[in-house]
């Protein structure tokens, strides 16, 4: 239906991801969306986990075996980081919504801080969890 040539000539197109030189804040904006999608999947996973708990011991233990495998633990770690990163990134966006730290260099510091904090907290959370937390099995 669409005439490609006509579209190219008659419609001004907004510059998009391929046009701009990548910047840190832009990259982190994309990461914020990406972690959001990851957490969408994690949410469905959590619903599945709760369902196995409500179903009975056999379903629950199968689920725990999958989550306790190396792949399962790696996925859980990624979810932990995604939660923290999306939360810290969310705080950053809320700060920006209040018109604070919009300007250089504060916006860059803030963006670096959220990345560093999410990585550090995710690693610390799992070190502490594997060391002391939970139920040893």
């Amino acid at each position: 239906m669409e005439n490609k040539k006509e579209r190219q000539h008659s419609r001004p197109l907004a510059p998009d991801l391929q046009t701009y030189r990548p910047t840190l804040t832009m990259t982190m904006s994309i990461v914020h969306r990406a972690t959001g999608i990851v957490l969408y999947v994690g949410f469905v996973g959590m619903a599945a986990w709760l369902t196995t708990l409500a179903t009975g011991p056999r379903a629950y233990e199968t689920m725990q075996r999958i989550l306790g495998s190396w792949v399962g633990l790696a996925v859980l770690f990624v979810f932990t980081w995604a939660i923290l990163h999306h939360a810290f990134g969310g705080i950053r966006h809320l700060i920006w919504d209040l018109s604070i730290a919009h300007t250089y260099p504060w916006r860059e510091y803030l963006t670096r801080a959220t990345l560093a904090a999410s990585l550090a907290c995710a690693v610390l959370f799992w070190i502490a969890l594997l060391w002391t937390g939970g139920h040893p099995s």
């Binding site: 999608i37 619903a47 709760l50 708990l53």
Partner: protein, 127 residues
């Protein structure tokens, strides 16, 4: 020139979409509410690590934990549905595909939320 729009429409100040900034504002409200909720969820997650069936049931059957999970599920279902909607609207421009994905998004977000809340309710009631 006499305006085509009625006085009520002008007072509401909404365009042809019939809605304004509700989605934007709801995304902010659920993000602020989500911060304490996600912190509490991570504490529950911590307590659950490696738990056997009986102790996991015991923890989720705790009314405070059950209510907390239900609140978080409701909050994040709304939040993630809006977030995914924005991504779909930004990148999918074919009308039928867009409508299809937006419908799938709503069904998945609220469907998973209902499943999660019913599961928690069952554990809470049966112990």
């Amino acid at each position: 020139m006499r305006p085509m729009r009625s006085g009520l429409a002008r007072a509401r100040g909404l365009g042809s979409a019939g809605s304004g900034t509700e989605a934007f504002w709801r995304q902010r409200v659920t993000s602020v509410l989500g911060l304490p909720l996600v912190a509490a969820l991570m504490l529950v997650f911590w307590k659950l690590a490696g738990a056997d069936y009986a102790s996991a049931r015991l923890l989720i059957a705790n009314p405070v934990v059950a209510v907390l999970i239900a609140m978080a599920v409701l909050n994040f279902a709304v939040h993630m549905r809006l977030g995914a909607r924005i991504i779909i609207e930004d990148y999918v421009h074919r009308p039928v595909l867009k409508a299809f994905l937006l419908t799938v998004n709503t069904g998945t977000a609220y469907g998973a939320a209902i499943v999660a809340i019913l599961a928690v309710t069952k554990v809470l009631v049966l112990g």
